[in-house]
Symmetry: C2
Subunit: 418 residues, 2 copies
């Protein structure tokens, strides 16, 4: 016989169009398990909410509001970029978190994030054990970058992929209408992995259609080769659509476009490679060009989310709670592909400590020989992930996204001072 305990859920890192669908899966599943799970608390701004004892009481939200999370982008409880260091270095933070969990009788910890967050979840799991606190820790994968190992894909990626593929298709049609504009450059996210850039390729049946050239972080950027390929494309097709990952680097490892700041994880903040390439086009080829930088637009574009992605995000949230209830600890649910066409998948499991801090780049056999496009194998992998439209409801011409009340539960501990 189990005692009833509370669940703590937190969102971490860059948000996506569907991380709230995972939250919806977590909360709806927990609510259906009222005999085992008491209140679902959500961290106000992720793990920082646990440290500050800012616990959002999701039981104050109506069933309709929680259901609406499924079609609402962003992180409904607030996310955060906050990395705990090793257990030795950040001992005070880990211990504080467990104290907060103890004060609110948290028996289940569900952490929704990318590789860094799975690392944190894993360490929380370890510290709970050493502090002899009974806590079941489960992760929920999330990242638009699609760079987690083991899982077929990461929730959030399919929707960005769909947005980028559609945007590439639409802008490719646009530029084909304009004989004077020869080059269009679309900059997309992807710090170290070119999955999002690769998704642009779905806009055309092959590289005779936009996008003609794709620049991946996995392929060292060689300006001469780029200029040559671009000129050749314009001469052959009349114009050239380029999809470029923000994270492309030169052979010496230097980012082609590096801002002057870096984030708290020590990652360089990127952005601006498209205008840089535009200047290269202007200076070396003299072509008229246009460029766009999608930035947050791509990861927030819930209006054109992939139905497959929404369904998987929800299913992983649900699976995480089911795993926690089954006593599975230190793991996360993952997606296992069983068939490309028709696309079939099921839920598997992986260890948090094996997922943490591994970045899955595009494998070599997904890249064309010249490194400017994808292979059929990559296309077979990507194609199912953008299937289906999952339109949000509209009101007055805009999607009707939910804003939660986000009421904090009363504190029981002294304030935390870092």
């Amino acid at each position: 016989m189990h005692t009833k305990r509370n669940l703590f859920y937190a969102q971490s890192g860059g948000v996506t169009a569907v991380i709230n669908a995972s939250a919806c899966g977590v909360i709806e599943t927990a609510r259906a398990q009222g005999e085992r799970i008491g209140t679902v608390f959500a961290g106000r701004h992720g793990i920082v909410g646990a440290l500050k004892e800012q616990l959002i009481d999701t039981s104050k939200e109506s069933a309709a509001s929680i259901a609406a999370l499924r079609h609402t982008p962003g992180g409904a409880f607030g996310s955060v970029r906050f990395k705990l260091r090793s257990i030795a270095e950040s001992a005070a933070e880990y211990q504080r978190m467990i104290e907060v969990f103890r004060a609110h009788d948290i028996g289940f910890f569900v952490y929704n994030g990318g590789g860094d967050s799975m690392d944190t979840a894993n360490k929380v799991a370890q510290v709970a054990r050493t502090m002899d606190y009974d806590l079941t820790c489960v992760g929920v994968p999330k990242t638009v970058d699609n760079d987690l190992p083991f899982t077929d894909n990461c929730p959030g990626f399919g929707s960005v992929a769909k947005y980028i593929a559609i945007s590439t298709l639409e802008t490719g049609i646009d530029i084909s209408s304009m004989p004077q504009t020869k080059v269009f450059i679309l900059e997309v996210m992807g710090r170290h992995a070119g999955w999002i850039a690769a998704a642009g390729a779905l806009a055309g049946k092959d590289r005779s259609e936009p996008p003609h050239l794709i620049l991946f972080p996995e392929v060292p950027f060689d300006e001469d080769r780029f200029v040559e390929a671009l000129r050749d494309t314009v001469e052959r097709h009349g114009n050239c659509v380029v999809v470029v990952s923000e994270g492309i680097r030169r052979a010496d490892g230097e980012f082609v476009a590096k801002s002057k700041t870096s984030d708290v994880f020590g990652h360089a903040q990127l952005g601006g490679v498209a205008p840089h390439l535009g200047e290269v086009v202007r200076g070396r080829l003299g072509y008229k060009f246009h460029w766009a930088v999608a930035d947050y637009l791509q990861r927030a574009a819930r209006h054109i989310a992939s139905a497959v992605d929404v369904e998987q995000a929800y299913a992983l949230g649900r699976a995480a709670v089911e795993m926690a209830l089954a006593g599975v600890h230190g793991k996360l649910p993952i997606l296992v592909r069983t068939s490309d066409e028709p696309y079939r998948w099921e839920i598997g499991q992986a260890d948090l400590d094996k997922v943490a801090n591994i970045e899955k780049a595009l494998p070599r056999h997904y890249l064309s020989d010249d490194g400017f496009h994808i292979t059929d194998a990559c296309r077979r992998y990507l194609q199912p992930l953008i299937q289906g439209e999952d339109y949000p409801p509209y009101e007055h011409g805009l999607p009707r996204y939910v804003r939660l009340r986000n009421e904090l539960t009363p504190k029981k501990l002294p304030d935390w001072t870092a």
Copy 2:
């Protein structure tokens, strides 16, 4: 009793998400008038197609293909930026055009474009008269910039407005999830008129919600005032979402972000004001920021077109043919608003020579006193234009846009040499 004559249709200038819906209206209406209108020829790349005698025979396209134009972005026959000068200066071009029309028995000329194009249509109308050639000339308004006078709005604008409002809403939710990112800057089109930037305001109920600040070409850019307003917004709301028109200028009239080129109309090519403002934020306030430049994405985004915009674009194409058949010459159909809420509109008419080369800026009473936002009057004007979704059909996760055969009709004249 009328003789049956052919119709020449051409698309001009920057394309939109719905210019093909106007083409659909033109062609479907002409096809239904088989006793009066023979073949609809479309200019390959607009008016240049008339000069080069590159006439696309649209009768080779199936009814299904023509119907699919209604949901296909871009310019299906190719557009062009090509401005004829005065009748005296460009006499050879105007005369050549009339010769081509005579060779192909063109009795109706329907020109789909913005202010510059209405100017051209007007001059063609005049030259036809002086050459004693029987030609009925009618315009169809089109421009994402929404800067034509007389008409309630311009087809193409409503869909860009919807895209920008949704993108502002979605990115506003995204940044609200991320406590460390303080500023998001979205650069939108609008060379001289701030209509598209104004549409971003529809994302929030008032300026307490994103977008907090809007920068219009109509308001001289003052960096100190901008920095002050931005700091104030971040302190008050925790972050600041800025929508900025590419065309903002300093008090001395200089564009804040000017590329080194200009287009054939002598307009400066713009782009890059968002990263410039980002550097201002970094240098003067030290806030973490993100920026996006929507560029072609906004005007090609047929996937989230405004249903009102699509319907109006089609209706104006249909009206142009009906006017031409009624012998109306030297005019264009326009939209006349008869009610804000519920939104009601009907088709009116305006003179080509009065529309040409007038740019309708945002009126002062549409701008807030401090110049950083819109008034309720502006909101009442804009709100109806983004109503309704008109989703294209999808296949394999992507919109199924049509690509026409675009077969040229055999030439009858010697080649044209400019």
